[in-house]
Structure formats: C-alpha cells, structure tokens
C-alpha cells in the first residue's frame, strides 16, 4: 500500500507540473519562423512595381492592343476583344493584380510615416505609385473602392466604392503633397529602386508628370475644368521650377528587364514570363498601326535601321510584305496573318525579351500633354515645339542614338519626308473618319508614343476619340468602343452590398456605361 501511495504522489506531481506547462512555449511555437514581423519601406517597392507592370504589359498586349488596333488576332470565335466582344471575366485579372499590389505600395507610406523609419521621399513614392495604380483602376472600371480599399488589415472586408470624381480629387491632393515631400530630396536606397536607382529628383518629375496626365484626363469635365486648366498652366507656364516634370527619356519611368530569355530570373520580361513564344509570334500587327508607320518610313519599322534587317519593333514581314491585318473583320472572312512580332524562339530581334518594354510613363507623353494644352490655348505655345519634342522622344526611347532631339537631321528628314510637319491651319478638332485636325495630329503621335504603356491608348481614345479608328464590319456591341470594364463577377459574392450600391450610383455594370470623366 505504501508503494501505491508513492506512485499516486508521483503522478499528482507530474500532473501539476504538466498543467503549468500546458501552454508553455505556445506563443513561440505558433510564431512563423519564416514570415517577418516588420518590413522596411524600400523592401516593398520593387516586387509591387514589377507585379503591376507585369499585369499592365500582359493586358496591354491582349486587351489594349486589340481594342486600339495595334494588333489583331486571327480568330473567328466569340469573345474576341478586337470585335468589342469583351467577356465579363476579362475584368478579373487587372482588378486582382492592381489591388493586391496596392497593399504594398500603400504600406510604404505607413512605414515611412512611423517615427523610427520616417522618410519623406518614401512617403512621396508611395503617394505617387498609389495614384498611378488607383488611376488605372478608376479609368478602367469607373467608381471603385478607394478610401476603404486595401484595408483588410483594419477589418474592412467589404469596402464601399468611391465616386470617380472624389478619387481624382484625392489623387490630386496626394500628388501635390508628393511634390512638396520630394523637394527635400531625402535619400532612398538605390538598390531597391528599380525605376530611378535612388534618384529622388526623377521621382519628383514622375509624380508631376503623372499629375499632368490625370489633370488632362478630367480637364474637359465642366465641373472641374477651370481648376484643372489653371493647375496645368501653373505647372507648365507659371511655376515650372516648382513642378519639375519629365524633360527627356532619362526621366522616363520604366523598369529595365534583364534582356535574357529566362522566364524565372530576376527582372525577366513579363512578355517572356507570361506569353508563350508561339502566341507572341502569332500576333499579327494591325494595318492601322503598321500602315501609318510604313507610309511615313518611320525609323521604328525600317529594317535598314534595325538589327540584322529586323526593324526596331522586332517585326517579321508577312506573305504580302510589310502589311498588317485590318481589325474588326467578320468571322469567316478568311483573314491570314501578315506582318507579326518575332518571338524568342526565332533568334531575331524581338520585343519579347527586350529590356525596354517595362514603361510606367515616358517623357514623350508629357510633351504631347503640353502640345494638347497649348493647342487648346491653356498654356502658351508654340504647339509645334511640344509636338516635335514628343515625336522625337518617342523615337529616341527605342532608338537612342538615331534621334536625340528635334533639331537632329535624321528627325527633320523624317518629318519632312513623311509629311508630319505641324500644320497650324488645321481645325483644333474634327471627328469624321479620315478628317484632319490638330487633335488628331497630336494624338496619333501620342498613340505611338504610348505603345506598350498599359491601357493609356484606350483611355485617351475614350477621352478624345483620337486617333480616329476605322470600324470593321465584324464589330459587335453596336460598333461602340467599350468605355469601361465591368466589375469582376466574384465581387457580387465577396462584396455584395457595396457592389449593388455602386451599380445603383454609376449605372448598369456593363462595358458601355460611361465613367464620370467620359460623361457629358
């Protein structure tokens, strides 16, 4: 019996010891040894920007370029974007990518505002890159979650949609603030800045250039035109030293890819990572895009000025020569591929692995913004200086040694031969097919300058109606260019109430509802 007692005592001792240790070390055990508790502002920038550019380039290639007659698929089936037949699931990819990466871009501001890691430049970089991505969202979908967005961490799981006007007004405040913050030139980590390698002054130029882009986009909207036009004038004419913008391609915001055909290495081109060589190669160039360039004998498509007789844009001629395919053809019309892009597998110059395709915003666009503002009399001219500067910068981006500025002989020769000299006698605007106008002249060139830049060609077409596109017989949607993308279908389940409110406020959730800045 004594033995038994001892054993029971022993057990009781073990039991009581165990009770104490029932949750011992649990906090440590349930702490992820791989995940980090904190991040530094600079660590969040590169992946987010690369991911956004990735989505932009993929959708530029298979959505924007189809709508804007840069390219045209050979395909008779339903759901072809070039026929304005846009499937509803087209909406998901950009929505998902833009929003998830905004979490990191917004977090940069939060981190750079904390006492221990205060950095005004990172605050500004966050404001600029956020505005860049939110502007893509609102210009694509219209009213979108903005003030409540990216706040899952604060437990806002069903964010309300903000009005586009309110989003624009807030982006202007952010960009204004960024310009002030960057004035001080607080240093950033150069190796973590894939865009400007730590040159804070160039971030300031980019922020103000983006500001100009967004101001111009809403300048025609009656409720805000007076203030936006005044702002453009202040930035360009009155106080340019206070608002430095991009002046040349050394200021262009871009991420350079690694130039290899690796699809897994750091900074592999999104065209290489996401588009199969066979699809890249089988994308015919549209005759609208190619025809003008060939007519002008444009250096970007001149085989003699390219590499091994391949023009700078990495094109390969079709069976009928340097011609493209007309967009909007009817199913069953037996269209065949003509001029198309080279892909990685041909061992020829190709945009698929080109280092220069990751464009966020370029200096040529800024020149054309000024050209339009000058043509409309909002700023002083002369218009042609801005117009030529834009054209020269657009070519310079791809062929930096061939043309460096508008006074170059190569450039003068090009515009004279091509008949692209500025014609101030043209009416400011004309919309009939084939009509000439100052707006058409500027926006045709801007269209080429914004080649590969996310959805900008489409946004500008929706804003201005330029360049005037031919309409093929196979178009659906009543031949109307889509004016937005619908919201992702899953939003109806994941955010049902806010979705219904947004549709009630903005109008039917389809591709023909006008976003605020497009409404008369």
């Amino acid at each position: 019996m004594k033995n038994n007692k001892n054993i029971i005592y022993l057990l009781l001792t073990i039991l009581s010891l165990s009770t104490v240790s029932c949750t011992k070390d649990f906090t440590e055990v349930n702490t992820d040894p791989i995940g980090r508790r904190t991040a530094e502002a600079h660590q969040l920038l590169t992946p987010a920007l690369v991911n956004v550019l990735n989505a932009n380039m993929v959708r530029n290639w298979n959505f924007n370029n189809q709508l804007m007659q840069v390219t045209v698929e050979i395909n008779d089936s339903e759901g072809r974007v070039f026929r304005y037949d846009v499937r509803r699931n087209q909406a998901d990819y950009t929505w998902n990518n833009w929003y998830t990466n905004l979490t990191d871009l917004r977090d940069i501001y939060t981190i750079a505002s904390q006492p221990g890691s205060l950095n005004k430049s990172y605050q500004a970089i966050s404001l600029i890159t956020q505005s860049w991505v939110y502007s893509l969202l609102t210009d694509t979908y219209g009213d979108v979650p903005y003030s409540d967005a990216n706040s899952g961490k604060a437990d806002i799981m069903e964010p309300a949609f903000d009005k586009q006007r309110a989003i624009y007004e807030d982006m202007f405040l952010k960009l204004e603030q960024a310009n002030q913050l960057l004035k001080e030139g607080t240093a950033i980590v150069p190796t973590s800045d894939p865009v400007f390698k730590g040159d804070v002054s160039k971030w300031r130029r980019f922020g103000n250039s983006l500001y100009l882009r967004l101001l111009l986009r809403v300048a025609g909207k009656a409720e805000v035109s007076a203030t936006t036009i005044a702002k453009i004038k202040q930035m360009v004419d009155t106080a340019p030293a206070e608002y430095p913008v991009m002046e040349n391609n050394s200021h262009t915001a871009k991420i350079l890819w690694n130039g290899t055909n690796s699809s897994t290495a750091v900074f592999s081109s999104p065209f290489m990572v996401n588009i199969r060589a066979v699809d890249f190669r089988n994308m015919p160039v549209c005759d609208f895009f190619l025809g003008k360039l060939v007519n002008w004998d444009d250096p970007r498509v001149d085989p003699a000025l390219g590499t091994a007789s391949v023009p700078r844009f990495g094109l390969d001629r079709g069976p009928d020569g340097w011609v493209g395919v007309s967009s909007g053809y009817s199913p069953g019309s037996g269209v065949v591929q003509q001029t198309h892009f080279n892909s990685d597998t041909e061992n020829k110059l190709t945009l698929q692995t080109d280092v220069n395709t990751g464009i966020i915003m370029n200096s040529a666009e800024v020149a054309f913004i000024k050209a339009e503002a000058a043509a409309k009399g909002w700023i002083s001219g002369p218009v042609q200086n801005y117009y030529y500067k834009g054209m020269a910068d657009a070519i310079n981006y791809w062929m930096p040694t061939y043309i460096t500025n508008p006074t170059d002989a190569n450039f003068q020769n090009y515009i004279n031969t091509a008949g692209l000299t500025w014609d101030a006698t043209l009416p400011l605007d004309a919309t009939a097919f084939g009509s000439k106008s100052q707006m058409e002249s500027i926006l045709v060139q801007k269209y080429y300058a914004m080649f590969l830049v996310d959805f900008q060609q489409w946004f500008e077409y929706r804003r201005t109606g330029h360049p005037i596109l031919p309409k093929g017989p196979g178009l659906v949607n009543g031949g109307r260019m889509p004016t937005r993308l619908n919201y992702p279908l899953i939003t109806q389940s994941t955010n049902p109430t806010s979705y219904r409110n947004a549709v009630a406020a903005q109008g039917a959730d389809d591709i023909n509802t006008l976003v605020w800045w497009q409404r008369p």
Partner: protein, 719 residues
C-alpha cells in the same frame, strides 16, 4: 482515317504486385513479430510508378510480475522515379487530353523533340498548345524518395488488481526528398531553359501519454471503470526547396548546372497539442450502461505572439445504453435489442499553424535585391476560436432470428460552431483570403445498416448487407453576409456560404433563360446567351449514400461483391468544359457541317419569346457558348453514381490438406476492384474530391486522371 481514342491508346495497363511476410514467435520470454512487405506499382501512365518497402518488428515482454513492456518499430521506404502531375496547366498530363485530337494516332507524339533540337525544343504536331503526353511522362519527371521510421514504447504497470498505469512514447520520423525535372522549352515559356528543383522535407511527430485505469466491481450489480489520462503531441514539418530554374546544359539535372542564382524556398509548420481527459463508466446488471467523458485540450495553433488564453477548450460527453433484451424477456425471435442515446461535444483547434499573426513574406522567393518583401495575402485572425461540434444521437441495435437479420439505426442532430476556414475576399480589400471562424452550421442525419443471412446450412451460407446514410446541413450564423469559400478555374464557379443555405452550395454564371426556363439564343448568330448575374447551380455534398454487399460461401469457396452509390450532389467538370468548347468531345459532333439550332427560344423585339429558329453556323462559337469558359452552368453535372466496388473469389484449402503440407493456412483468390461505374459524370470518375470527407474541397474537377479498375490474384500462406 480514324485511330484509337488517344486516351485509350496512351494509357497502358498498369501492374501492381505486393508481397508480404510475417513471422511470429517467442524467444526467452519475449513475444516477437517480424513482418516485411514489398509493393511495386507500375502505373497506367508510361514511365510512372512507385515502389514501397516496409519492415516492422513488434516485441513484448513481462519484465516483472506486474510490468509489461511493448515495443514497436517500423521502417518504410517509398521510391518513385516519376509521379504524374495533375491539374490544369502545361505540366499536367490531363491538360493535354483536353486539347488532344480524338482522331490522331497517338504514336505520332512519341517523337516529341523538334528535328535536330533534341533536349532543346519540343515540336507541336497538332496544336500550338501543350506538349506531347510522352514528352510530359518521359521528360517532366517528379521523383520521390521517402524514408520513414516509426517507433513506440509502452509500459503497463499493474499497481493493484484494480488499478493500472500505462505510459507510452512514440515517434514518427520522415525524410522525403523530391526532385522535379523540367526540360528546356517546358510548359510554354514557364521554364524556357528547363529547371531542376530539389526539395528536402523532414517531418516528425512525437507523442507521449499516460493513462491510469481503475476497474472495480461494487456489490453484486455495479461495475465501475474510471480512467484519467494525459497526452502531449508535437508535430514539426520543415521543407527546403532549392531551385535551379534555368539550366546551362539541357538535360543535366544538377544544382550546379544553374543558369541563374539558386533560389531557396523554405516552408515550415509546427504545432503542439496537450490534453487531459477522464472517463467514467458505470454498468448496472449488464443491461444499463452510463458513460461519461471529459477532455481538455490546449492547441498551439490558436496562440498568438502575445497570448495563450484562448488556446484551451473543454468538451464533455455522456451516453446511456439500455439492453432491452436483457431487461425484459422478449419474444424468441428477438436475439438482442439495445437502445442508446448520447449527447457529445467534440472540440478541435486546427493543425495549420501561423494563422494568428500578420507577417511579411519574402517576395518571389527572394530573387529581388535587399530582401524585398510582400505583405501577406492571407489575412490572419488573432481571435481564432476552436471548433466545437455538439451532437445528440439516438440509436437502436436490433438482432433478430439468432442474429440472422440485424439492424443498426442512428439518428442525429447537432451543430458545428466556429469551423476554421479560409474565406476568399474581394481583392479590393488588398488581400486574397481571410482566416475566419464561420459561425454555426446545423446538421442532421440518419444512418442505417442492415445485414442478414437468408440461407445458412452446413456447407452453404449466403449473406446480404447494406447501408444507407442521409445528411442535411443548414447555415445558421456567419461571420459576414456571405462567404466565398472556393472558386473554380473557369466560368466564375464558386462555392459560397449564405445564411439559410448549405455548406457546399455552388454558384456561377449560367445561361440567359426565358421565364419558362428555356435557354435564350442570340437571334443573329444562334449561340446561347449568358446571364450576367450569378446563379445557384446546386450543392456539392451528396444527400444520400448507399452500399450493398453480398457474399456466398460454399464449402471451401467464398464469393463476395460490394456496390455503393451516392445521390444528390453536383460538380463542375473542367475536363468536359475544355473538351467540349475545343470540339474534342463527342457531344459537339451535331451540326459540324450544316450548323445546328439550339434547343430553346429567341426573344422577339416586343419582348415575347419564340422557339429558336436560327441556325448557328459558327459551330465552335455555338459549343463554346454552351459549354465554354464564359459560364459554369453548362459543365455542371450530377455526381450521382453506382459503383461496382469490389468482387472476391477465394478458395481456402481444407485443413487436412494444409496440415499435410505442414502449413497453418493456405488460400488462393482472385479479386477485382472498381469494376464498373454507372454515372452521368462526363469525365472519368464522379468521386474527384481531393480530400474526401470535407465538402469544401469538392465541387470542381480540374484535370483529373482516369481512375483505374484493378484485377488481381492473392495467395496467402500461413506457417
């Protein structure tokens, strides 16, 4: 010219062999059992298969009068040079079949390298899409070598004749090495220069427990049993994958052949569960039994970095059984009758750790400079609560005619609170998924098992058995108005939980329908129109399950067969959708030459409807509109099935004969498994859920591999 269906032609007959041997004996007072087994499986895909070897030793001995020791040890090895990948994507074999031409000679795919470009570039003979299936099975290799050790040691000490103590420790250790080889030009551009990845996975689970048991007869009528016990469990998983994505020399799979810097992708998980429990049983006169249990668990996965106050949870149960046939004198035809009732709770934390704290993760596996990071895309839940299931159950066990006809019936009703799930959130929150406790789901169901022996003579016996189960659940409370739990690959299919709905409700895009339910077609092209909104498409959890088995024994022969069935659920078949929209499925044959008029209506200008009279001539567009990726409804099918699960025929040699050979037992049999499936399901097998038992993972079939029918012979020799 027609060739054999590529699916039939590509797959070969697999071969599986399994041998096992066991020895029992006693040596110097130690009971020993040694067993070894070896299995070899050559699978139906060429160049795939695996080999298994297991050796186990059991030993038990009584050291002192009151102390017995038991030891178990097992070593196992699993080895494969290639395991096939599934799913929707270029690396999946079944992806190819969705695009395969039904009338192409499959042998044409055997020469998959482009001429003169061996190891560098694949050629595509019929489609610009995926690689040849032979390229996938011969060049896309997924190898595995796993070594496992399992051991346990327990001691039982009889303190008195009523009281005993058991102490046990056990461990399960695994070391798994996986090699993933991808040639140049693999998967479109994904691995343009190939890839070699080597993953080293070390995992272990160790546990220790004790149980004190007290058993005593009190007076004439009462018997008491009580136990008190406790256990500790530690589980750990560590994986490190080293990636050489991009190879210098094609076809050389070595980490030193890397073109870009090696990428290291770590993964880890660990958890601990500590428990105390007690049980008490009281038996009265062999006809009334009361059982009470109580258990307290502490689970580390519920802890946060600052607190552990919510990691513990307690769950009790009570049950009462009454054996009526022993209490009353019932008619002779009733051999046994037992009534039982119970109320029980079961609690559970989770075995997925690290879901309570917000983290930053290495971006793109660390390829960017300066240790670039992303915010987590999975929102953690610092207030995670344990799941508690409460069930009330009543049961009846009835055996008639000397156990020749038996019924076992159970009805239950209960609820599950705070199930821990990943909810898919709108990306505008900035995240993909949020970890949530979903609220309360009520459950009720019935389970019935019947077995009988209609004929029994000296040499002949015929048995029948069957089961029937039904279950319904209803969502009563949710963390938010609706929770999206799973999404499909195409057509916006999604599993959504709504209050008032059921777990496993599937929604998606469907056809535009007239008020009478007919599909509305496009008046100019004749293709089916899509409904822009989300519609309910069915539920992925079966409402009823049945099984039916029978057996006949005649002298030394025995024959048995087993069937089972399920009813009442639906699923989305991606294999069907892709094949139909690409024109690879027989359903798309009508109208290829002259067009087809879809079954449904057209809307007139005044809003009324008329029978569809427009011939769809673009037949690809027509079938895409019916079955393609624009909507999910066209590829939703019932997963109802009846399966001939198993058949066995065995001859057991008579004792006299086996004794003569000096053997204990000798039998020879043939068997077949998964012999037939009767089902509307368009892909291979309506049971495609990746993790059976939970409705969340069902619903979307994504490139399933064919299930296999197995025939075999079995020889058992007992010494």
């Amino acid at each position: 010219m027609a060739y054999e269906d590529p699916v039939d032609a590509f797959f070969t007959t697999g071969f599986e062999s399994s041998n096992s041997l066991s020895l029992d004996g006693t040596y110097k007072g130690v009971g020993l059992r040694l067993s070894a087994s070896h299995g070899n499986n050559e699978w139906i895909v060429p160049n795939t298969g695996l080999e298994r070897t297991t050796v186990a030793l059991n030993a038990n001995t009584t050291i002192a009068k009151k102390l017995t020791i038991n030891f178990k040890g097992q070593y196992s090895n699993r080895h494969s040079d290639n395991l096939p990948a599934t799913g929707y994507g270029n690396q999946s074999l079944m992806y190819w079949f969705m695009f395969a031409q039904p009338n192409v000679n499959v042998d044409w795919y055997r020469d998959y390298w482009a001429p003169g470009r061996e190891l560098l570039q694949f050629q595509n003979i019929t489609t610009t899409n995926p690689e040849s299936p032979y390229a996938i099975s011969e060049q896309y290799l997924n190898g595995q070598r796993r070594n496992g050790f399992l051991g346990s040691l327990s001691a039982n000490y009889k303190i008195t004749s009523d009281l005993s103590l058991m102490v046990r420790a056990s461990g399960d250790l695994n070391n798994d090495v996986r090699e993933t080889k991808r040639p140049w030009d693999a998967s479109g551009n994904k691995f343009a220069q190939g890839s070699f990845r080597l993953a080293n996975i070390r995992s272990y689970e160790i546990s220790a427990d004790f149980m004190l048991r007290y058993n005593k007869k009190i007076g004439k009528d009462f018997q008491v049993t009580a136990t008190v016990g406790g256990s500790q469990l530690r589980n750990s998983y560590n994986r490190l994958e080293t990636r050489a994505d991009g190879l210098i020399i094609p076809g050389v799979y070595d980490l030193n052949n890397n073109r870009s810097p090696l990428v290291y992708a770590p993964d880890t998980a660990r958890y601990r569960i500590n428990s105390f429990y007690g049980t008490g049983s009281l038996a009265y006169k062999n006809y009334l039994y009361l059982d009470i249990t109580a258990r307290q668990d502490w689970n580390s996965t519920l802890a946060t970095i600052t607190r552990t106050d919510n990691v513990g949870f307690f769950y009790p149960s009570a049950s009462l059984a009454f054996i009526a046939s022993d209490f009353w004198k019932l008619p002779a035809s009733i051999s046994y009758a037992k009534l039982r009732g119970s109320i029980a709770q079961v609690g559970s934390g989770s075995t997925t750790p690290f879901r309570t704290e917000y983290t930053y993760l290495s971006a793109a596996d660390g390829i960017y400079p300066d240790g670039a990071l992303n915010n987590t895309r999975i929102l953690p839940n610092p207030n995670l609560k344990p799941l508690i299931t409460t069930t009330v159950e009543l049961g009846l066990d009835l055996r008639l005619f000397k156990n020749r006809l038996n019924f076992d019936l159970a009805v239950y009703s209960g609820n599950t609170k705070n199930q821990i799930l990943n909810r898919i959130v709108d990306k505008s929150t900035g995240y993909n998924v949020q970890v949530v406790n979903i609220g309360r789901v009520d459950n009720k169901g019935i389970e019935l098992a019947v077995n009988g022996t209609p004929v029994q003579t000296k040499n002949f016996k015929w048995t029948l058995n069957g089961t029937f189960t039904a279950n319904r659940n209803k969502i009563k409370e949710l963390a938010d108005s609706s929770l999206v739990l799973r999404t499909g690959a195409l057509g916006s299919g999604q599993v959504v939980a709504n209050v008032g709905g059921s777990m496993g409700d599937i929604f998606g895009r469907g056809y535009l329908r007239a008020p009478d339910g007919q599909i509305v077609y496009n008046p100019s092209t004749g293709v089916a129109l899509e409904n822009p909104d989300l519609i309910y498409l069915g539920n992925t959890t079966p409402q009823f399950r049945f099984s039916f088995g029978t057996g006949v024994t005649y002298k030394q022969f025995s024959l048995s067969a087993l069937f089972d069935a399920q009813l009442g659920a639906v699923g989305h078949s991606l294999t069907f959708s892709r094949m139909a929209s690409l024109g690879k499925h027989a359903i798309t044959v009508p109208g290829r030459y002259n067009g087809v008029i879809g079954d449904g209506v057209l809307q007139n200008a005044d809003g009324t409807y008329r029978k569809n009279d427009v011939i769809a001539t673009d037949i690809a567009a027509y079938y895409e509109s019916l079955y393609g990726s624009g909507q999910a409804e066209g590829s939703i099918f019932k997963t109802d099935y009846l399966k001939f699960r198993e058949a066995n025929l065995t001859y057991t040699f008579a004792n006299k004969f086996t004794k003569k050979l000096g053997l204990n037992k000798l039998s020879l049999g043939v068997y077949g498994r998964n012999l037939f499936i009767w089902s509307e399901w368009p892909a291979f097998d309506p049971e495609f859920g990746t993790l059976a038992g939970s409705d969340i993972v069902q619903g979307f079939e994504v490139g399933q591999l064919p299930s296999t029918r197995t025939y075999g012979a079995r020889l058992v020799v007992g010494l």
